[in-house]
Symmetry: C2
Subunit: 404 residues, 2 copies
C-alpha cells in the first residue's frame, strides 16, 4: 500500500532542508538509551548551546493540565535565556503530583551540574505515558552517559532527534540556511495532537544573533500558522513544548523579517512531517475554509471539520462524502450562509449552493493527499487552513493498546 510516510531522507522542492540541531555553529547534542523505554531504544537527549549568546524563547501547551517539565521549563524560560534542553521519551512525567515536580527539578539540576551552568539555564522536556513516575535511577545514569557523548556532528544531532520519538515512525528534522547563518531543528509528535497556540516537542537552534523578544515574535508568528493548524485527533497534550535557542556564533544579526522566514520554514517543515507520520494515517487531508467574515471564523470551521469523526472515516474510505462535510461545518461557531456553501475535493466542485454537483460522487480520492476546500458563502475575506488526517483502523488499534 502506498503510504504518506516520508522517507527520512526525502527532501521535497520548496521544503526546508533537513538539518540537525547541531548544524548551526556552537551547538552540541547527544543521545543515549537510559532504559526508560521498555524497547531499549534511545530515550534521552541533551542539546547544549555553547554561546556566546543564550537568547531563547518558547511556546507551551495551553492544556490546563500541564506536565511537571512544562511548568519547570516555563519558569526557566521566563528570563529569555537558556543554555541547554534535556529530553526524555517513554515517560511524560505528567500527572505525577509533587513527586513529578521534584523529579523534573532533579533532572534539571543533574544536567545543569554536569554542564557547569545554573539549573535555571536548563529546560526539561518529557514525552510518553502520562501518570507513571520517572525512574530517576535511570535518569541519573542517563545524564552521566550523555555528557561525554556531546558533540557537534550531524550524527549527534540525528541521534538526539531519534531519542525524542515515541510512536513516531520517522525522525523529524528541518533547517534553513541564511546568508552566513543557519537554523537547525528537530521535533516529535504523531498523536494527542491538536496544538493550541503551542505544539509538540520541538527544538530549534540557530547561530544567528537575536534577542529573546525577536525570537519570541518569530516563534509565535510561525507556530500560529504551522503547528497550531495541525489537528490529528483534537486532543491537546499535557507536554507540548517548542523551544528556540540563538547563540549568535555566526556573528550575523538577521532582520526580523529574515528571522521570521527562517523560523517559519523549519516549523512548517516539521508540522508537515508530523502530519505525514500521524498515528494510523493513510491520508493527509488539508482543509481550507474561505468565504467567512474573519480568519477566526474560517479556522473554527476548518477545525470543526478536521475533528469530525464521520468526515475522517469517509476520507479513510476515499469517499467523496460532501454531505458529511456540510453537516460538520454546519455546527461550527462561524457565520455562514447555509444555502450558499461550496465544497471542492482535490479542486473539483462537489457541492455548489449547498447542493451536490453532477458526478460529485465520482471524484477520485484514492491518493494519499486530499485537498478539501469549503466556502461558507458569506462573501467575506476570511480564510484558514487546517492539516489533519483520516480516521483509520490503525489509529484505533494504536490507541486502544498504547498504555497496556
Amino acid at each position: 500500500m502506498e503510504t504518506p510516510h516520508p522517507s527520512p531522507n526525502a527532501h521535497n522542492a520548496g521544503e526546508a532542508p533537513r538539518l540537525s540541531v547541531t548544524a548551526p555553529q556552537g551547538f552540541r547534542a547527544a543521545a543515549t538509551a537510559a532504559g526508560i523505554k521498555p524497547s531499549g531504544k534511545s530515550d534521552m537527549a541533551l542539546v547544549v548551546n555553547d554561546g556566546p549568546k543564550d537568547a531563547a524563547a518558547a511556546v507551551f501547551t495551553r492544556n490546563r493540565v500541564k506536565a511537571s517539565p512544562v511548568k519547570l521549563s516555563q519558569a526557566a524560560l521566563a528570563d529569555g535565556a537558556l543554555r541547554a534542553v534535556l529530553y526524555n521519551s517513554g515517560n511524560a512525567n505528567a500527572c505525577n503530583g509533587a513527586q513529578g515536580d521534584a523529579d523534573a527539578r532533579e533532572s534539571q539540576a543533574l544536567a545543569a551540574a554536569a554542564l557547569g551552568v545554573e539549573p535555571s539555564e536548563v529546560a526539561v522536556c518529557s514525552t510518553g505515558l502520562i501518570g507513571e513516575l520517572l525512574d530517576m535511577g535511570k535518569v541519573r545514569v542517563g545524564v552521566e552517559k550523555l555528557l561525554p557523548l556531546l558533540g557537534d556532528d550531524e550524527a549527534q544531532g540525528e541521534a538526539a532527534a531519534d531519542a525524542i520519538l515515541t510512536t513516531d515512525l520517522v525522525r523529524k528534522e528541518a533547517g534553513y540556511r541564511g546568508e552566513g547563518w543557519t537554523v537547525g531543528a528537530m521535533g516529535k509528535g504523531v498523536g494527542m495532537m491538536a496544538p493550541s497556540l503551542a505544539t509538540m516537542l520541538v527544538c530549534i537552534t540557530t547561530d544567528a544573533a537575536a534577542t529573546p523578544q525577536a525570537l519570541d515574535a518569530a516563534l509565535r508568528k510561525a507556530t500560529k500558522v504551522t503547528f497550531d493548524t495541525v489537528d490529528i485527533d483534537g486532543s491537546t497534550s499535557t507536554n507540548d513544548t517548542v523551544i528556540v535557542m540563538a547563540n549568535g556564533a555566526s556573528g550575523v544579526t538577521p532582520s526580523q523579517d529574515e528571522l521570521d522566514r527562517a523560523i517559519h520554514a523549519v516549523c512548517d517543515s516539521l508540522a508537515r512531517q508530523m502530519q505525514a507520520d500521524a498515528e494510523g494515517v493513510t491520508k493527509r487531508v488539508n482543509i481550507t475554509v474561505t468565504g467567512t467574515a474573519s480568519d477566526d471564523d474560517a479556522l473554527n470551521a476548518a477545525r470543526t471539520l478536521g475533528r469530525d469523526s464521520l468526515f475522517k472515516c469517509a476520507m479513510f474510505g476515499s469517499d467523496p462524502n460532501w454531505g458529511r462535510t456540510l453537516a460538520a461545518v454546519g455546527m461550527a461557531d462561524a457565520a455562514m450562509d447555509p444555502e450558499n456553501i461550496a465544497v471542492y475535493f482535490n479542486g473539483q466542485p462537489v457541492c455548489e449552493r449547498s447542493t451536490g454537483t453532477p458526478g460529485a460522487r465520482d471524484v477520485d480520492l484514492s491518493g494519499v493527499d486530499i485537498d478539501v476546500r469549503v466556502d461558507l458563502g458569506t462573501g467575506g475575506p476570511g480564510t484558514a487552513t487546517v492539516h489533519t488526517t483520516d480516521l483509520s483502523h490503525d489509529y484505533v488499534e494504536i490507541n486502544s493498546a498504547y498504555s497496556s
Copy 2:
C-alpha cells in the same frame, strides 16, 4: 462477544415499558417498503392522530445546515397543531437545494390529500444519505400504499418503528402509563449523533389532553437531560426531529408535573436504546463530571471527554487510562483546579489530586458498561452526565463504507 445491544424485547426494571406509537387511543400507523432503501426493507411510515385534539410540539436540530423536511416541519409546527407525520428512511433529503424543498412539500401534500387534512397539519421527517434527491415516484406510490395499511394495532406501531431505522440494529420504542392515559414513542439514531438542544428522529404520541405549550415545556425539559446528553461521535445531524402529539382521546388532562414525568420517561428510554445501539459500539460509557462552579461547566467537560478520540479508543481497549482522561478535560471550557482533579472508573478511584492511585492500572473495564466520574476539584456544586460509547474498529468500518 458480549455486546451492549439490547434485545428488542428487553425490559429493564425502572425503564419505560415498550409501547408503540399506536398504544394511546386515537392514533394509527402504517409502514411500507417503497424501494427507497436498496435493501428492500421497509422505508416509509405514517403516524396519524385521529383526535379529537391536535396539540403538538417539536424540537429540531440546531445544525445551521438543515434538511428540507426539517425546515418544512418547523413551519408546520408553528401553530402547535399536527394531524400526521410522514417518515422515510434511506434518504435524508438534505442539501438538495430548491428541488429538495419542493420534494418535501410534495410529500407533505400527498399525505395531507390522502388523509383529507391541510398540508400544514402534516410534518415530514427523512433520514438516510445526505445529498441524493428523493425518488418522488417511489414516494408517491409509497403514500398510496400506506393509506389502506393504517391501523391502531401494536403491530402497526412496531412496523412504523422498523421503517424509520437506517444503520440501527434494533427497533426503538418506549411508553408510559398514566392513570387513564398512555404515552407511546418510537425513535431511531445510532450515528451522526450529538444532538444539540434537539435530537434524532423521534415520534411521541399520547391520548392525554395537553396544550401545545404544556407539550413544548415537557419536551424541552426532557430532551435537555436525555437526548441532548447522548454524544456518540460529536456529529450533529441535519435532520434531527422529535415530535410529540397529544389528542386528548383519554379525556384525562394530566398535571404539568405528570406530563413532564411521562415525556421524560420515554425520552430517557429511547436515548438509552440509541446509546446501546450506536454504530460500532462495544461499550456504553457514562461520564459524570462534578466539582465545577456550574452545571454548564460540568457539561462542557463531560462533552469534551466524551468526544476525545484517544479516551474513546482506550475505552475500546478496556484500558483504565486516566492520564488521557485528565489530558482531555484539561482542554474543556470549564473552570477547574488542575492540581485537584479526581477520576473514578466503575466507582474505583484511579486518580486523586491529579495523580494516579496505586493499582489504578489494574481496574477491570472489561464489561460492557463503563462508568466514569471526574471531579474537577473546585468544590462547586456543578454536575452533568453525558452518555457516549467507545471508538471501535467497527465504527471506522461502518463509516468509511457508508455512502459507497
